[in-house]
């Protein structure tokens, strides 16, 4: 992840590394799901792993890491409002209390 930000695009090898990371993270998710001992922390762990995968694709495959910050802004605002509304709706319907 020490790829320098810049206008040169990363190498194919770098993309393969990212893809492998994604695959490993997915495997971890499924593993966490099946390990009984992790049940109490299942939700936070899965949400974290999901967010990491999400961020990897957005930053590197979609080039947000290297591109104009405006594009990140456009995307993140949509995402931010969407997450906000999901959370508010879940709270109203009593789905966040447990």
């Amino acid at each position: 992840m020490t790829q320098e930000a810049g206008h040169t695009h990363p190498s194919s090898r770098f993309y393969v590394v990212i893809a492998l990371t994604l695959a490993v993270l997915t495997a971890m998710e499924v593993m966490v799901f099946y390990v009984e001992a992790l049940a109490p922390v299942l939700v936070p762990v899965l949400l974290v792993l999901m967010s990491v995968k999400f961020a990897l694709v957005a930053m590197f495959f979609m080039h947000l890491r290297f591109d104009n910050k405006l594009l990140t802004g456009v995307f993140v605002w949509g995402l931010f409002i969407a997450i906000g509304i999901i959370l508010i709706l879940m709270a109203i319907f009593g789905k966040l209390a447990g």
Binding site: L70, W77, G78, I81, A82, G84, I85, I88, L89, I92, F93
Partner: protein, 625 residues
């Protein structure tokens, strides 16, 4: 979308001489010129507005006296549903988009929007979805579930007719066009500004257009999904709004108002933008507190996503939810107030010229304030328990939407009409129009504040004589007739301008923004030379004020060129006309009609739409060969 949108054909400027309003039917069907599309939107929106106005007229006639039976309740319910739906989606929004289309590229110094064909596509979808919706009158009755279409009343069980299917499908179709328009205007404003036109130099109308684009993009999808759920419930027996299956019909209300509240700002912010351009021009003073007005607009747009539950205070969501959303709603009053105060401060110390555009702008300040204050009353959830779903709320939002949106649009109409047509309107007729509208509007809507507080619920085809509300309703009905009459001077004025209007010249109002540097109406390419801008209100620098003398040292700069030359020094590349947007819109419309229950029609429509899409994508990128 797979090939370049830069569908250009290089031509010399001389080849663009065709006038804005000349050309045959084919040239209008294939046009991608933002100005022509703006005119199409305007005419379409105006016609739908007149139709919805007549529906309102019928509603008021039925309510003129208690316990009347002029209209039967089923037809009445269709009328108020269609009145609301039409005014919001097929009159208000098209008129706003009309102004975006015509004015925004001119204000930022662009030759067209970012995606001219997408722009045409949006228009055709709007037109077809509106016609589709109205065709329901001939196929078993128009929608009658209210423009808000609350479930489960609109479930198949309680609305077995086709009316609500028309509603769902028409709004899905027009929603696609709206989202496309949102993308288009956002990219246009962000990406197509003339050199030097920084964000904090944008005219306020363009600023508000940018915010509205964002609101459209973020608020229409939840509504679209809500409609998809409704469509599936009605057509395929799913259970999204079916309490018996464990669902909560209130979900629809959330999805509807997550969209519905930003929609209010979609309708009002452009009017604020118009006023923020009109008041400085006719006060001969720059806008007071430009950055504050911009940021208060941003704040209103942002808060718009966090207040939707204030439409649902009586649903019984509990004290915490109501308190949070009540508080958030009250916050909206602050940036709105800031705008009003800044507009007044703009006029303070100015040279106020009471042209019709200015009158409507001042009218907006006065009338919208009333709507805003009654809004604060039902921002308080307990007070709202008495006000929601009564005529008090009807009065409130008509003060907001007529006092805000309609007055703002009329101000914009009188302001930019000379730019759009090259002709001046008659001032006397314009003033008559203003005063009639102002009086009629108050006569219609002020009394129903009282009838609401005194116990008249909304969406009722009649009211008991014993309620004692006769006088309020009668006055309101008289006002409504006057309101219709108020359109006479407007129509007369259009006729007058067409026959005898004086030529306008590039800048009849001595306005400061760059749309006034080009001829009226502008040439096909808008600007023979792309202007360069080095400040806000560039045409007021240096301070040459005919009739008013010099106000200060002449400063160089402002905008170059100050007046656009007749001929372009270099060949101008403009987008080619295209019929593919029309084909694609027709395809989607056919598929929509098929959604009423004909699978073959759906497939035909989708095939046609795909044909349109591929034709569009693979049109020769260079038109010259």
């Amino acid at each position: 979308m797979a090939t370049s949108e830069a569908d250009v054909g290089g031509r010399a400027a001389g080849e663009h001489k065709q006038g804005l309003y000349s050309g045959g039917l084919w040239s209008w069907l294939t046009t991608v010129d933002h100005k022509r599309i703006g005119v199409l939107y305007f005419v379409t929106g105006l016609v739908f507005m007149l139709v919805a106005g007549l529906e309102a007229q019928a509603i008021r006639l039925q309510l003129a006296r208690p316990e009347q039976r002029l209209l039967d309740p089923e037809f009445y319910n269709q009328l108020f549903t269609m009145h609301g739906t039409t005014m919001v989606f097929f009159a208000g929004m098209p008129l706003i988009i009309a102004f975006f289309n015509f004015i925004v590229p001119l204000q930022i110094g662009a030759r067209d929007v970012a995606f001219p064909r997408l722009n045409a596509f949006s228009y055709w979808l709007l037109l077809f979805s509106g016609l589709f919706l109205y065709s329901s009158f001939f196929f078993g009755g128009a929608p009658d579930g209210g423009w808000f279409a609350y479930t489960p009343l609109t479930n198949r069980q309680y609305s077995p007719g086709m009316g609500m299917d028309f509603y769902v499908l028409a709004l899905l179709l027009s929603g696609i066009g709206s989202i496309a328009g949102g993308v288009n205007f956002l990219v246009t404003i962000v990406n197509m500004r003339a050199p030097g036109m920084k964000f904090m130099r944008l005219p306020l109308f363009t600023w508000m257009a940018l915010l509205v684009s964002i609101l459209i993009l973020l608020s229409f999808p939840p509504f679209t999904i809500g409609l998809v759920f409704m469509f599936f419930d009605r057509s395929f027996g799913t259970h999204f709004y079916d309490a018996a299956a464990g669902a909560d019909p209130v979900l629809w209300q959330h999805l509807f108002w997550v969209f519905g509240h930003p929609e209010v700002y979609i309708l009002v912010l452009p009017a604020f933008g118009v006023v923020s351009d009109v008041i400085p021009t006719f006060s001969r003073k720059p806008l007071f507190g430009y950055p504050v007005v911009v940021f208060s607009g941003i704040l209103i747009a942002f808060l718009g996503f966090g207040v939707w539950v204030h439409h649902m205070f009586a649903v019984g969501l509990g004290p915490i939810v109501n308190a949070v959303f009540g508080g958030a709603t009250m916050l909206v009053a602050i940036p709105t107030g800031i705008k009003i105060f800044n507009w007044i401060a703009t006029m303070w110390g100015g040279q106020l010229r009471f042209k019709p555009a200015m009158l409507f702008a001042i009218g907006l300040l006065g009338i919208f304030t009333i709507g805003g204050l009654s809004g604060v009353m039902h921002a308080s959830p307990p007070a709202d328990l008495q006000q929601t779903d009564t005529y008090f709320v009807v009065a409130h939002f008509h003060y907001v939407l007529i006092g805000g949106t309609v007055f703002g649009l009329f101000a914009g109409f009188y302001y930019w009409f000379p730019k759009a047509t090259g002709k001046m309107l008659n001032e006397g007729l314009g003033k008559a129009h203003f005063w009639l509208t102002l009086i009629a509007m108050n006569l219609t809507f002020f009394p129903i504040h009282f009838s609401g507080l005194l116990g008249q619920p909304r969406r009722t085809f009649t009211y008991a004589e014993g309620l004692g509300l006769d006088t309020f309703n009668l006055i309101s009905t008289i006002g409504a007739f006057l309101f219709t009459l108020a359109f006479v001077p407007l129509i007369w004025n259009l006729w007058y301008a067409w026959r005898r209007g004086r030529p306008a010249g590039p800048n009849p109002w001595d306005a400061p923004t760059i749309e006034w540097t080009t001829s009226s109406p502008p040439p096909h390419y808008n600007f023979a030379v792309i202007p360069r801008v080095d400040r806000r209100d560039p045409l007021w620098h240096p301070h040459i004020k005919p009739g008013l003398g010099w106000a200060g040292e002449a400063e160089p700069g402002g905008v170059f060129p100050r007046v656009q030359p007749d001929d372009a020094p270099e060949p101008i590349v403009m987008p080619n006309p295209s019929y593919w947007p029309l084909v694609m819109a027709l395809g989607l419309s056919l598929a929509t009609i098929g959604g009423l229950g004909s699978l073959p029609l759906v497939f035909t429509g989708v095939a046609l739409a795909l044909l349109g899409l591929f034709g569009w994508a693979f049109e020769p990128a260079e038109g010259g060969h």
